[in-house]
C-alpha cells in the first residue's frame, strides 16, 4: 500500500513537471508551431492527472477533443496562414515591468497566506478512494448527462451548431463572379467582380 502511494506521488510529480515545463515553454516560445506542440504536452499531462483522479472518461475526451481535434485545427490554421516567428518589439508600456513585479509580490504573499491558513485549519477533505470510485466511469457520466443535465446538454448542441455556422460564415472567401461579355466582333471581355455579403 505504501509502495502504491509512493508510486502515485511519483507519477504526480512527473506529470506536474511535464505540465509546468510545457506551459512555460509555450509562453517563452516565439514560433507558434512549437508553442502548439508544447500545448499538446500540457494536454497529455492533464489527461494523466484525470486518470490519477479516477476520471477515465474525461481523460479520453481530453485526448480526443483537446489534443486531437482542437490542436489539429490550430496547427492547420498556423500552417495555412504561414505565420512567421514573432519579432521582438519594445514594450507597450514603460512601467509594465515594475508593475508586474509588484503584482507578483502581492500574489505570492496571498498564496503564502492561503497555504499557511489551510495548513492550520482542522477541516479535512474526505479523500475518496480514486481507484475504486464509480463516479468517473462512462456509465455514470452518461446517466448524469441524460437525466439531470439534459437541458444543458441540448443547449450545448445548439451552441455547437451556431459555432459551425459562424465559422463557415467567417472563414469563407468572398464569392468572385466572372462576367464574360462578347463584343460585336467576337472579342471576349472578362470582368472579375467580387460579391460582398451585404449586396447578395
Amino acid at each position: 500500500m505504501i509502495i502504491a502511494d509512493l508510486f502515485q506521488t511519483l507519477i504526480w510529480i512527473v506529470l506536474a513537471g511535464l505540465a509546468i515545463g510545457s506551459g512555460v515553454a509555450m509562453v517563452v516560445q516565439r514560433n507558434p508551431l512549437y508553442a502548439a506542440i508544447s500545448l499538446i504536452g500540457v494536454f497529455i499531462s492533464f489527461a494523466g492527472f484525470y486518470l490519477l483522479l479516477g476520471a477515465p472518461f474525461i481523460a479520453a475526451v481530453q485526448v480526443i477533443v483537446y489534443a486531437g481535434a482542437i490542436m489539429v485545427l490550430v496547427v492547420f490554421v498556423i500552417m495555412l496562414l504561414n505565420v512567421e516567428e514573432e519579432v521582438r518589439k519594445p514594450l507597450r508600456l514603460k512601467f509594465l515591468i515594475p508593475a508586474a513585479i509588484f503584482g507578483a509580490a502581492i500574489l505570492f504573499a496571498q498564496a503564502a497566506f492561503i497555504i499557511y491558513s489551510v495548513g492550520a485549519s482542522p477541516v479535512r477533505v474526505p479523500n475518496a478512494d480514486a481507484a475504486n470510485s464509480q463516479i468517473g466511469l462512462t456509465k455514470s457520466i452518461g446517466t448524469g448527462l441524460f437525466t439531470d443535465y439534459l437541458l444543458p446538454f441540448e443547449i450545448t448542441s445548439i451552441l455547437i451548431l451556431m459555432a459551425i455556422v459562424g465559422a463557415i460564415t467567417l472563414a469563407r472567401r468572398p464569392t468572385v463572379l466572372l462576367l464574360v461579355e462578347e463584343d460585336y466582333d467576337g472579342k471576349k471581355h472578362v470582368e472579375r467582380r467580387t460579391l460582398k455579403i451585404d449586396n447578395i
Binding site: 504526480w12 507558434p32 477533443v65 490554421v77 477533505v125
Partner: protein
C-alpha cells in the same frame, strides 16, 4: 502520501497564471488563443479534482460541457483569426486595434 487536493489546486493555479501571463505577453493572435485554451484546461483540472475528492459527479459533467464550449470557441476563434489575417495581412493584435480597415 498520496496526492492531496491542495496539490491539484496549486498546480491548477500555476497553470492558470502561466496562461494569463501568455495572454498578456503574446502579440500573435494564435498564441493568445492557445494561452486561453491553457486557462480553460487549468479550470477543468480544478473541477475534476474537486469532483474526485468530494465523490460528486457534477464536476465532471461541468468539465464535459466546458470542453464542448471550448471546441465551439476554437472553431469560431480560428475563423475570426483567418478573417483578420485576410483583411490585414498580419496576426499581430497591435495591428488590429481599429474596427474599420
Amino acid at each position: 502520501m498520496t496526492p492531496q487536493l491542495s496539490w491539484y489546486l496549486a498546480l491548477s493555479a500555476v497553470m492558470f497564471t502561466i496562461g494569463v501571463a501568455g495572454v498578456i505577453l503574446k502579440r500573435n493572435a494564435i498564441s493568445m488563443f492557445m494561452c486561453i485554451e491553457l486557462m480553460l484546461n487549468s479550470v477543468n483540472l480544478t473541477f475534476v479534482a474537486f469532483s474526485s475528492f468530494f465523490n460528486n459527479l457534477n464536476g465532471q459533467l461541468f468539465v464535459f460541457i466546458v470542453m464542448a464550449v471550448a471546441a465551439a470557441e476554437a472553431a469560431v476563434g480560428l475563423g475570426i483569426i483567418i478573417a483578420l489575417f485576410r483583411n490585414r495581412e498580419s496576426l499581430d493584435v497591435d495591428d488590429a486595434n481599429l474596427l474599420k480597415l
